[in-house]
Symmetry: C2
Subunit: 418 residues, 2 copies
Amino acid sequence: MLYSKLFPKPQKTNKEYDSANARYLINGGFINQVMAGAYTFLPLGNRVLVKIEQIVRREMDKIGQEVLMPSIVPTQLWEDTGRLEKVDVLFKALGANEASKTKNDAEYVLNSTHEEVVTPLAKQFTSSYKDFPFALYQIQTKFRNEPRAKSGILRGREFRMKDLYSFHTSEEDLLDYYNNVAMPAYVEVFKKLGLGDSTVIALASGGDFTDKYSHEFQTLCETGEDTLYYDKEENIYYNKEVVKDPEAKKYDIVKGAEVGNIFPLNTKFSKALDFTYTDEQGDKKLVYMGCYGIGTSRVMGVLVEKFHDDKGIIWPVQVAPYLVHLVGLDLNDQEIRQRATSLYQKLNDEGIEVLFDDREEVRPGAKFADADLIGIPVRLVISKRTEDKIEWKKRDEKDSELLAYNEVLARINKILTH
Amino acid sequence: MLYSKLFPKPQKTNKEYDSANARYLINGGFINQVMAGAYTFLPLGNRVLVKIEQIVRREMDKIGQEVLMPSIVPTQLWEDTGRLEKVDVLFKALGANEASKTKNDAEYVLNSTHEEVVTPLAKQFTSSYKDFPFALYQIQTKFRNEPRAKSGILRGREFRMKDLYSFHTSEEDLLDYYNNVAMPAYVEVFKKLGLGDSTVIALASGGDFTDKYSHEFQTLCETGEDTLYYDKEENIYYNKEVVKDPEAKKYDIVKGAEVGNIFPLNTKFSKALDFTYTDEQGDKKLVYMGCYGIGTSRVMGVLVEKFHDDKGIIWPVQVAPYLVHLVGLDLNDQEIRQRATSLYQKLNDEGIEVLFDDREEVRPGAKFADADLIGIPVRLVISKRTEDKIEWKKRDEKDSELLAYNEVLARINKILTH
């Protein structure tokens, strides 16, 4: 990608932001706020989001089948589960003007979660114990009528989410999938996203679904909005809401940003919707369900909260918008422009994703500052001073080196295979 | 993919449907109706949709940059362009219950199209003629308060769409991009989707944007809802709405299903939102815009309308959910099961997408009927009768042959490279 064509260019402002992800993602040209809690993912941000979702998809494909459920559904579905009046972030959709209402005066629910859609779907196509277990997932846009949307893309009114639902003939089978299939898959996802070292599993309330705990994947993070209690004796993290004796000395208090959660729904929805199967003896029994979420746009914000310095973002390789940020200097010199362009072309031919700062009118300091702000892992420079070599610097290291092309390529391939 | 694990299995019903795409996509287990005009894309259908959208994305990446804009936006944006009361399919979103409304009583528009979002975005990051031209696109879910949602996924209340917007300093530059960049890209998209032979460009009304025509990409199709007039003398298609003398003998009447449209918006939105740039003389001028849509979920329906027989769907290779439908017969014989499983594994190892009907209890006739209904391009059979060979049959051909593995692989690779 030619930097001169990139929409938009990073724009540093002196605005105050409530979080690092808002500051760097907005200034860096990754996202654009349309209103509190609703953002456009710009070309750079869209590339990061797609990479995050592909990492999630690859792991979920191993444990479930991908579907895409609608966002607007009949109000009746939410009445059937008794949640229409209960879920206090629920949106409805209806005609926006007189002409629209006159043509169709129905009201629909705009889903904040999809149990109301996936449960009737699963019910429609199953009857015998032989049809179980199975799991369906989607990666999709969700809507929540948040009163206080804040912290960049950490808490939005519209956001991207992966939600998986599993269906079982017994609590035992549900717990087996929950503990031995879903939980390891989640651990792998956060490891692959670069959050493995900083993400812990915290025990949280089971809500009105179960008297057991649910599990939150919490990235330890100063700007996280959840308060975690770490039991030093047992080596277990708890969400504040389930800590009975918060004054106990065995606890360290930790802040966390929730990036995923898994939840044994048990028979809550199958009871409400009369979702049963016939067992081997011919008896009807209730289906057991679990649900498993990952906030994919929120993960993007959390990555920035974890990986930045005072100059900008430091993307992990696997989610970076490009692998190489090639800075061309002294480009009014045709020979140097030719060298930079040729390097850009050669890296492209190798299938390496390169953002090439090909602007002539911008001074070196501004180009380097943009590169630091955007946070692409490898910075290469071609200039008068680099002669027949290439300047190599990683975003997370201080020092630069002059290398030959083959050495640059070898190092890039080493990064890609790690 | 093992057929025994596929959710759901095809279910033939005797229901009456209003269109071939509804009948075959629903019976074949590609889509599931949640309400009129809102469908879940099931695992098979989701795979087709993703392939369609990847084909569209690859061509659009050559002519624009991908973004993702929000669906819910402030009502004010639609007031600013004067369209809040005008667009008669517009939805709004607001709190669904008392608790939700009490926490946040704002109302938002649920976008049916994104000029109201992309125009302020483009305006924010441009000022000089040097910032033009450029184009942004997204592949995203759209909402329309359709009074009569019908024809399967041809006309929905919620559907998938690619929308691209281009920005220019003059009408001349807009028309150059429109005719010489966007139009050839669209021709290429429909060719790659397998609709090249049956899709024509029809002249249609320019609405209140321009006194010139807009252009519709219409797939000629008996079940299409648009009436087209083909001028035999001039070799031009017209949408009915712009034909002045419908009785003229030079016309043949043709039915079409609209799969894409391109539209010179000119200065309609830049005027409304005061979107100007500074030209080389320092004068302020209005920006020219074009918009370019492709209904990606609709394309899936149109493909079925075009490619089916009385047994089911006949997917073009590039959008088929799998390339190979491997039918195992006599699988209670362990040696035959071993042969079928080994073939499945070998094809998988070659990176070929295979749906393997591994069910024991289902008789051959039902398995073949399912294969015809689902419409995967290549059917392979392993059974007692095939001995050390493999039965090969293409979905769009009548006869089957017995082939050795290497010949099967050679033919598959030939299909894939075409």
